[in-house]
Symmetry: C2
Subunit: 709 residues, 2 copies
């Protein structure tokens, strides 16, 4: 057992002693089911039952009942708690005093029921903290580890032993998947019901399971993420060791509503999750089917070196379906070398297809499959194989399955995924494959997607390690000063010149801009800056400047500047008579560049998102933008920009010169640094953001910054 020990949460998954608090002889009660499961699962440690009616019950399922945990002289690693919520504070106090390490609180009636429940939940967490007692739940199905083994849950049965850990924020989904998996023959290393996540959360468990040798892949069903940055930090490390696949529900608006009514936790916007998962190498499953299809592949197969796959089939149609799906998922159909073809021709009929997908025809025997598969796995140019079989007159299902298992054992370093289309006749062969750890799927597309997940993870696993966040020269003090002033005036919106100042303090290229409070100032400043200039109304009350005649371009001389000042102020007063502050920004009129938009937006869960994309009139219609989570590495900033369609234009097409991409990346990194240094920035918008030709830089023409209240 020591070998299997987890470094973190060790005594939770592998306790030496377990007490069931609220154990009951009533077979309808959770307190009975939890005790029975611990007995039935073959737990090898010391097991205790606790119930005030100890004297009456004597023992339950052969386990001695104590009235109180303090009566036990042994140390207790894990308490499984099934007593009503109202008794919880005093119980947690008792457990703490006893020195219990973990409490898995099955009991419901906490945060999910409303504010009283939330208070109670907060209370028990506070008590537990005093003693260093860690809590799973409350409101959980329980915790199961098939290698320990423990089954500290009220599930009907135990999962089959396997290599996949499944964390779930829905206990019922766990019971459903457990039942489904038993029928499908899919095994698990552990099942963790997360419940309300009052203390231990997904990040804790993912971190712990990273070190569990029994676990080859970590799956999670999540409705929310407790600590965004912790999650990213943990997964960033863990995904370099083993795959983490998450199905995050509450994607849709209506789904979000259901999620918040269900768990009482807020679900963040979906984009943020996509960006966050990408940042830390988490694979996001689109649906439950896909999640478990992937689990199969990850727990049975090695990670391929690259994406060059051979498809071997005894039927054209399914081969084409697999090929279609392979292309859709970024797999490359490996080209078959002439040497390979020559060898195939030695035993396959001439009508066979010797290109990829290799069609051995309906007459293919087990031996044919075996020889092709072996040739493929031996081939340097092939990273993995997809084997498709349909039950035709001469097909040897069972023997072919046998051969696949044999070859898999001979070549353990390249993944094989099988697709056996059938059920009644092929049933036993399919069962045989699964039992022998060959992932097998009933339809071509599902098998191909599973292989694609292996390839996706190969890239994630080997991604470059995080670079140091670029630490640029910047004037934090100046920004702090500006923000203090804004806050002291009880504003949240910065004036145009203030925002430009902030940008300048971080080295973001902006045109010279001055704030004129009078017509004379306007004339003087315009002259200082140099003509032509642009003049823009500035007021915390006015958002749509252009619409009210508050922006004038191409002012050519001092006289015009003075006149324009008067005009702009008049226009503003007409439309916003209530405005107290009215002034005019005088800005150097820059030459026209390609219009981009860059900005940032604060997410409650994960911190600040940085955005870049196409600007101009079409911005809202094409939404050609990409996001990244601050702080950005240079690689991430480059990747973001590459994700936009406008990137193609920026590289220069049809003889146009390329734009200054380095300057864009540089600006993204500076914005990332700014919003990381000042988390009070709620929104930041640079629009338009002009980009010039290579080496000619960029210009942040209009900067808007809003602070949090």
């Amino acid at each position: 057992m020591a070998i299997l020990a987890l470094k973190k949460l060790d005594k939770l998954f592998h306790p030496d002693s377990v007490a069931i608090i609220g154990a009951s002889p009533d077979k309808k009660k959770v307190g009975y089911a939890a005790l029975r499961n611990m007995v039935d699962c073959g737990f090898k440690g010391r097991l205790y039952a606790i119930n005030p009616k100890a004297a009456e019950y004597g023992e339950i399922e052969g386990v001695k009942v104590y009235a109180n945990i303090s009566e036990i002289s042994d140390t207790i690693d894990l308490a499984v708690v099934c007593i009503p919520a109202r008794f919880m504070p005093s119980l947690i106090e008792e457990l703490g005093q006893k020195g219990v390490k973990y409490a898995a609180i099955i009991t419901a009636g906490f945060k999910e029921t409303g504010s009283d429940g939330a208070k109670l939940e907060h209370q028990i967490v506070e008590i537990a903290k005093k003693y260093g007692l860690r809590i799973v739940g409350p409101n959980i199905l329980g915790v199961i580890d098939t290698s320990a083994p423990i089954n500290a849950s009220f599930a009907e049965r135990s999962p089959i032993k396997g290599e996949v850990a499944f964390l779930s924020q829905s206990g019922a989904l766990l019971t459903g998947i457990l039942d489904w998996s038993r029928a499908e023959g899919i095994g698990y290393s552990s099942f963790v019901s997360l419940g309300n996540k009052a203390d231990l959360d997904e990040s804790d468990f993912i971190e712990a399971l990273a070190d569990d040798e029994q676990t080859l892949a970590i799956l999670a069903y999540l409705e929310s993420i407790n600590r965004g940055s912790k999650f990213i930090e943990v997964c960033n490390k863990v995904t370099r060791k083993k795959p983490v696949v998450v199905i995050k529900s509450g994607r849709s608006e209506a789904g979000s509503k259901a999620a918040s009514s269900h768990t009482g936790s807020m679900t963040g916007a979906d984009t943020t999750y996509d960006v966050a998962f990408e940042k830390c190498g988490v694979i996001r499953a689109d649906n439950a089917q896909e999640l478990f299809d992937m689990a199969f592949a990850f727990s049975y197969m090695p990670i391929p070196k690259s994406n060059r796959i051979a498809i071997i089939t005894n039927a054209g149609g399914p081969g084409i379906l697999a090929t279609d799906e392979a292309e859709r998922n970024g797999l490359e159909l490996a080209s078959i070398s002439s040497e390979f073809k020559e060898k195939l021709k030695e035993f396959l009929p001439p009508a066979a297809n010797f290109n990829n997908p290799i069609d051995a025809l309906g007459t293919a025997q087990a031996e044919d499959y075996s020889r092709i598969l072996e040739l493929a796995l031996k081939d340097e140019g092939i990273d993995g194989a997809i084997v498709i079989l349909t039950p035709q007159a001469m097909t040897e299902g069972q023997e072919t399955a046998d051969k696949i298992v044999e070859i898999r054992n001979k070549y353990p370093n390249k993944p094989i995924v099988s697709i056996f289309i059938g059920g009644e006749i092929l049933g036993p062969s399919i069962y045989h494959l699964k039992k022998n750890r060959i992932p097998c799927y009933p339809h071509p597309e599902r098998g191909v997607k599973a292989m694609a997940a292996l390839v996706e993870y190969a890239v994630i696993k080997e991604r470059p390690s995080i670079e140091e966040i670029v630490d640029l020269d910047r004037d934090k003090a100046r920004v702090r000063e500006i923000f203090s002033k804004v806050k002291s005036e009880e504003r949240t919106n910065l004036l145009g010149t203030e925002a430009i100042e902030v940008a300048k303090a971080y080295g973001i290229q902006t045109p010279p801009t001055k704030l004129a409070m009078s017509a004379e100032d306007a004339g003087m400043f315009a002259e200082e800056i140099g003509f032509p200039v642009v003049m823009k109304i500035t007021s915390p009350d006015i958002v749509h400047k252009t619409d009210i005649g508050g922006v004038k371009l191409n002012i050519k001389n001092k006289e015009e500047a003075i006149q324009t000042y008067i005009e702009i102020i008049e226009n503003a007063k007409k439309h916003h008579p209530e405005s107290k502050i009215l002034a005019v920004d005088i800005q150097k009129m820059e030459k026209t560049g390609r219009e981009l938009i860059v900005g940032s937006l604060k997410d409650p869960q994960f911190g600040s998102l940085v955005m870049v994309g196409m600007g101009g009139v079409y911005t809202n219609f094409f939404q050609d933008v990409a996001f990244g989570l601050a702080p950005l590495t240079k690689l991430e900033a480059i990747k973001m920009l590459e994700q936009t369609k406008i990137f193609t234009l920026l590289k220069g097409v049809r003889g146009e010169s390329p734009s200054d991409i380095d300057a864009i990346i540089d600006t993204l990194l500076k914005i990332s640094l700014l919003v990381s240094d000042f988390p009070e920035i709620k929104e930041l918008d640079v629009n338009p953001f002009f980009v010039y030709e290579e080496n000619e830089g960029v210009s942040a023409l209009d900067v808007k910054i809003t602070l949090e209240e």
Copy 2:
């Protein structure tokens, strides 16, 4: 049997007499399997076996063997042919003389093997035509009809009797799906292997199955479509009666290659299939899993009135997953009326969720499910229900399944889809549901997608009937004349003025344009047209006019026009010294409008595609275009335009006036008419196509037309 009779292909699916040509006592031979299947399936008509060794064999499986079909005095409706390909021409001749109605040719070795095989295939089709003998295949698994019943195939077993017809261009896929479906308990009305489709093709079968009362839904796996317009014509009618769901393979580039090497038939570009399927109401399945998930729903459930769905669950998590998927697929979560809620509160615990998804909690009993489901189906505001069950401690799987069946029978007019997440414990309940014709899925998303398919089909079924194709006033003769001239000069590209002339003949708004062959002409024509004008090089050899200095804008007077002519011709000669024809188009310079692109492209399978979308510099990058198949109805043209993102801008946003959308639609219809009248148009491009404000029309500035060689 008469009641079930098909109007079309009647004696193929319901023959009174069947002859197996090449029947064999050798159990390894196809000729044995085909005979055995006809005997085993319970065929009620007269069955004959044909083999030259009749005398030796006597009878096979109790069926008398004849040496030759001419020895049989009976008439033969269907001949199932298993003899080698080389004997085929003489056999088909014999069958024709005998007056056989249908030949299902299982034998391979035709088009799929190369040009010799293709010749042989052509030959037998020609022979068959003489006699009115219709051919299925060659190179097929066979034809199965479970209600007749006939099993004229060499499949291992017969499908279960059901209501779904499955046509497949891959015989092996049929065998796989047959085997899989038997294990899953999915039934079929008929199985048709299409093979090489030398004579009867998908359109024939879909047309026939539309009248088959046993068939509620038609599924097809297709690698190609033989006759594009016939397919559209047939499906347009059939999809108003029953759903047609197609999985079309060869989507990807690599897939297409595999498809053509497999069947010898060309697979068209994928866009065309999407457009064609949409035009005729065919639902396209993304993958095989989805195809059969839909089949389940279509054969067991009625079509809902609209998309307002209730989700009923005993667990939050799966409810949220279902909600997410519902939104992604355009389902609306019906709002639960206060009356409904009151009734729910009578029996559900207060902690239950009374909004949609209705969460009856883990304690929900069969009776709870029954009451909620009945309330939902009785509700005027709910069109269908999705029932989710997870196996929790108190869950009554079997009883709940029973109740669902009961309610389904009581309310047969609204669809129910069930999602039972489980296997070992829930297995019997799931089996019970399927057996009683309730579609049941193991994961939330699959069930929701199936419901979404029902809703999708509801819209298809009730779509407005095809309007008359608008018949506009047009000068066909003028176009014919221009095309004749172009052809007589052995050109395929029209000159700019020719293309403008063609557009004008169809009433498409174009600026006045004249072709100047000399500098004097240029000056004179420019004056006639009125200044300012645009001048453009015109030559069949020059495609990129701007790049060689061949386009000049804003020519303001006669002198400038003359000078510009000389300049343009010089530039052209410099870059294209080989050009024989060089002249200059003089065109009225139009005011700038919003830039669109419209055009048309000939597809070998389906005819001409019409295109509309965003023009200008971004055209290629955003590819914001939509396609429709000519001839377009007005509704289709509107729908096309609505599919583009630019449409939002055309409607007028942020105080901008709307564009002349009517004029765009009008132009699309005119282009559609033009390319329908003249199928020799290979490509037509109007770029730029200016659109002005409402009621101010459009202008086709530059028209390019290429004819087929």
